[in-house]
C-alpha cells in the first residue's frame, strides 16, 4: 500500500482549497487552473482487461480480453480486442493464427450460442431448450449403451467397455473440471475421450 491520503487531498479536506501542488509552488498556478477548466467537460471511459485461456487446443495459451463498458451502467459491455498474455509462461504473449482470430470468433454471426437440433431429413436447425437437448442426449446415450455395452471379452474377463460412443470436451478447463469430466465419462465405460479439438 502506498500513500493513504495525498497532501493535496488532506489540504482540500482541511478547507485550504487549491494551491498545494508542485505546479503552483513553482509559480505555474495559472496553467494549472487552465488545465482544470479544460478537462471539466470531459468524461472518463472505462475498459477492463481480463485474463482467460484460448479455447482452441490443449496448449492452453493465455489471452487478455479487452472489454469496453461499465457493468454498473446501462452501457452494453463489448469485447474490443484480444491478444496473447505476455505474462503467461506457455505462450508469453504469442498466439497462433487461430488464437489471433479469437475476436472474430467471439463476434461471429454464425457462432452457436444455444442448443439446436436438425432431425433426420430436415433442412434447417431449430432452436431447442437446454432441458430438451440434455434429455435427448441422455436418452440416446442410454439406448446406445444398453445395446452395445461390453461387460466381458471373449475369454470371459470383465472389461466393462462402451465403444460405440465417444466424448469430446473443451480444452480451456480448470483442473477441477477436467477431473470431473474424466470421472463421469470413464465411469460409463467410454474409451474414446478427448479434452480438445486437436484441429
Amino acid at each position: 500500500m502506498l500513500h493513504e491520503l495525498s497532501r493535496r487531498q488532506f489540504l482540500k479536506a482541511a478547507g485550504a482549497g487549491l494551491g498545494g501542488s508542485a505546479v503552483a509552488a513553482l509559480g505555474f498556478g495559472g496553467a494549472e487552473e487552465a488545465l482544470a477548466q479544460a478537462v471539466r467537460p470531459f468524461k472518463l471511459a472505462r475498459t477492463t482487461e481480463t485474463r482467460n485461456t484460448c479455447p482452441y487446443c490443449s496448449v492452453a495459451c493465455g489471452v487478455i480480453l479487452y472489454s469496453l463498458g461499465d457493468k454498473s451502467k446501462n452501457a452494453h459491455p463489448a469485447i474490443i480486442h484480444i491478444e496473447g498474455d505476455p505474462d503467461h509462461p506457455t505462450n508469453r504473449g504469442t498466439l497462433c493464427p487461430k488464437g489471433s482470430a479469437l475476436l472474430d470468433f467471439v463476434h461471429s454471426e454464425t457462432r452457436t450460442k444455444v442448443p439446436q437440433y436438425r432431425g433426420p431429413g430436415q433442412r434447417e436447425f431449430k432452436q431447442i431448450s437446454w432441458g430438451e437437448a440434455l434429455d435427448r442426449i441422455a436418452r440416446l446415450m442410454k439406448d446406445d449403451r444398453d445395446k452395445n455395452f461390453v461387460a466381458t471379452n471373449q475369454d470371459g474377463v470383465t472389461v466393462n467397455r462402451w465403444l460405440t460412443t465417444g466424448f469430446l470436451a473443451a480444452s480451456a478447463t480448470t483442473n477441477e473440471t477436467a477431473f470431473l469430466t474424466y470421472k463421469v465419462v470413464r465411469s460409463t465405460g467410454i474409451l474414446a475421450f478427448d479434452n480438445q479439438a486437436r484441429v
Binding site: 502506498l2 501542488s21 496553467a31 471511459a45
Partner: protein, 306 residues
Amino acid sequence: MSDDPGFPALEDVGIAERDKPPFVRLPKPETLFGLRAMRFAALAPGHQLEAYLLFLSEVAKAQDALARALPAPALPPLAEMRRRAGHAMPILPREELAGEPSAMAALVELPALLAAVVMPEQARAALGRIAQASDEHRQAMLAAVLADAVPVEAFAEHIFAAAALQVAAARRAALLDPLLPQPVADGVCPCCGGPPVSSAVVGDANIEGVRYVQCSLCATQWNHVRVKCVSCGSTKGIAYQEIEGVADTIKAETCDECRTYVKILYQRKDMELESVADDVASLGLDLLVTEAGWRRAGVNPFLLGY
C-alpha cells in the same frame, strides 16, 4: 543424458524467440534525462501546461548535465548487496542517498545550471534559497524528500532537491549487476525501495506487451504482471480509465480494493511515451480520476501534492 546414443538431448526451441523478460531494466542516466527533456519540449506546444512543461524540459536538461558532470557514486560491498537481495530488501536503500556526496553535489550545482532559464519568481526564489542554504539545511532537504515528508510551505525547493536526487539515484542504480535485484514488495522499487511514478506496457522487441513499473527516484524499471494493482497487488476490481475521445495511450489503472491508481503508458502504441514527462502532461487524467474517487499512488516530484 547426451552420452547415451539412445537418448539424444532435446533442443530448447523457445517460444517464438521470446526470452523470459528480465526482472529489472536498470536506468541509463547518460540518455535518461536528455530524452526526458526532449519529451517535455515536444509535449509543450499547445498544452495548457505549456509554460510548466517547457520549464521542466530545462530542469531535465540540467539533470542531464549533472548526470555527465558528477563524480562517480560508490556502491556498498558486493557481499552486503547480495545479503540485502537475499532477504528481499532494496539493494541500495534510498535513505543512503542523504549522505551520498554526489547527491549533495547535484543539489549544490543545480541553481547555477538553471540560472539562464526564464522562470516564475517563485521558482527563482526557491533556487536562490538552495544556493544560499547551509550544508545542514541542504542535507535536511534531501532527507525530507527521501522520507516523503516534504513540508507544504517549502514545496518549491524540495522539488529541486528531488530532481538532484533523481540524478544521483539513477547513476547509482545504473552501476548494479542487473541480475542482482530481487522482488521486494508490490509498489516498492527493488533497487532503492522508492515508490513508482508510472508503469508502461513496453513495445521493445522480444518483450513486447510486458509491463514495467518505473521507480520515481532511481528510474529502475521492474517487471510487474499486467492487470494487477501496482500498489496492493490485487487482481480483483482492476479497470482502466481514459479520457473519453482523447488518446487511449495513457490510462489510469484503478484498483477497487485499495482505491488507488497508477498510470499505465501503452508504449507499444506510442514509443515516445516517457514515464515522467507524460505523467506530468496527462495531469488532466489525474483530475478526472481523483474526482471519481481514486487516490493517486504514483509519486512524481513535479506533481508533488497530487
